[in-house]
């Protein structure tokens, strides 16, 4: 085997061979809001980056003329993972909330357990679009305000500004802290649990 493969394999932390199922949670937020920081603080691997391309209008392309015409949109995203037990691994994806990304949402994140919308109080408007789209896709989500210092706003003020439904959890966090990021994920999964056992109305 050539050495390039062995070298890169040496850096990797493979999953347990008993791992049989994988789950997804997506962290959505504007540029610089702390998505990668959050993934890094809880992930068992250094966050990795990859990309997906989409050709214009998503049509099938079977000949190379379309590949050459550069109509493809490329979106990049980060991810990390958490082995939950011997069989199950949870993948955490950091996804930019910008418009073009949503064309790929279904292809990338169909079947996701739920989403965390990470917001920066100084740029709340950045998250409006993401919240709209998650509601439209019927993807359950919570909102977490990442603490950058700055002006203090009550969570009620933030809830109003984001026009969030009362049942959608809204919490504060500091995603540089592992415990805080853990708490965000636990809050999301508890919320999903409440929804799935029918203890609350679906948003």
């Amino acid at each position: 085997m050539d050495s390039a493969i062995s070298d890169s394999a040496a850096d990797r932390t493979p999953l347990l061979s008993t791992t049989t199922s994988a789950l997804k949670i997506v962290v959505v937020g504007g540029f610089g809001v702390g998505k990668t920081t959050m993934v890094r603080s809880v992930s068992e691997i250094r966050p990795l980056n990859t990309e997906e391309t989409m050709t214009q209008a998503g049509q099938d392309v079977d000949d190379n003329s379309a590949v050459r015409s550069k109509t493809a949109t490329t979106v990049a995203f980060d991810f990390g993972r958490i082995s939950l037990n011997a069989e199950t691994v949870l993948y955490l994806f950091g996804a930019p909330g910008q418009e073009r990304f949503w064309f790929l949402w279904d292809r990338l994140f169909a079947g996701t357990l739920g989403a965390v919308v990470l917001v920066d109080i100084r740029r709340l408007a950045d998250s409006w679009y993401a919240i709209d789209r998650l509601e439209q896709h019927g993807t359950p989500f919570i909102v977490a305000r990442n603490d950058f210092g700055g002006p203090k706003h009550s969570l009620d003020q933030i809830r109003d500004a984001l026009d969030l439904a009362p049942q959608v959890p809204l919490i504060e966090c500091d995603v540089r802290e592992r415990e805080s990021s853990k708490h965000v994920l636990i809050t999301l999964v508890q919320y999903l649990y409440t929804l799935s056992t029918g203890d609350a109305q679906r948003p």
Binding site: L16, L84, T88, Y91, H137
Partner: protein, 118 residues
């Protein structure tokens, strides 16, 4: 001046997949776990060899893409070929019954336990 790689990468991707830009099936999810059934052998396409080496332990599609520095859709095409040839097997995530349905409470309980133990 153009961005490095901008002009050559479509050709490279085209070559890697033998001219296809779409997988013929949507069988692979980002987190489908791929497991090698064969060792890489001389004469195989280098991407196939790399995948077989990487997937001696279960490896998610998205990790393969990151490791090979290829777009996810290209990796899915490579994986479809390996799957069709019986060189890999795939452990697919359990699909939700419908797009907007909620996960099984039992699965969520497991996730909560796992997260709390972190």
């Amino acid at each position: 001046m153009s961005r490095p790689g901008r002009d050559d990468s479509p050709d490279r991707l085209y070559t890697v997949t033998g001219g296809r830009s779409r997988a013929n099936s949507t069988a692979f999810d980002l987190v489908t776990l791929v497991v090698s059934e064969f060792d890489p052998a001389p004469g195989m396409q280098s991407e196939h060899r790399a995948i077989l080496a990487m997937c001696r332990r279960p490896t998610a599609v998205v990790e393969i893409a990151a490791e090979l520095r290829l777009p996810v859709s290209i990796v899915k095409i490579l994986l479809s070929d390996l799957l069709a040839a019986g060189r890999v097997t795939a452990r697919h995530p359990q699909p939700l019954p419908t797009a907007s349905s909620l996960p099984d409470p039992l699965v969520l309980e497991q996730v909560l336990v796992g997260l709390r133990n972190l």
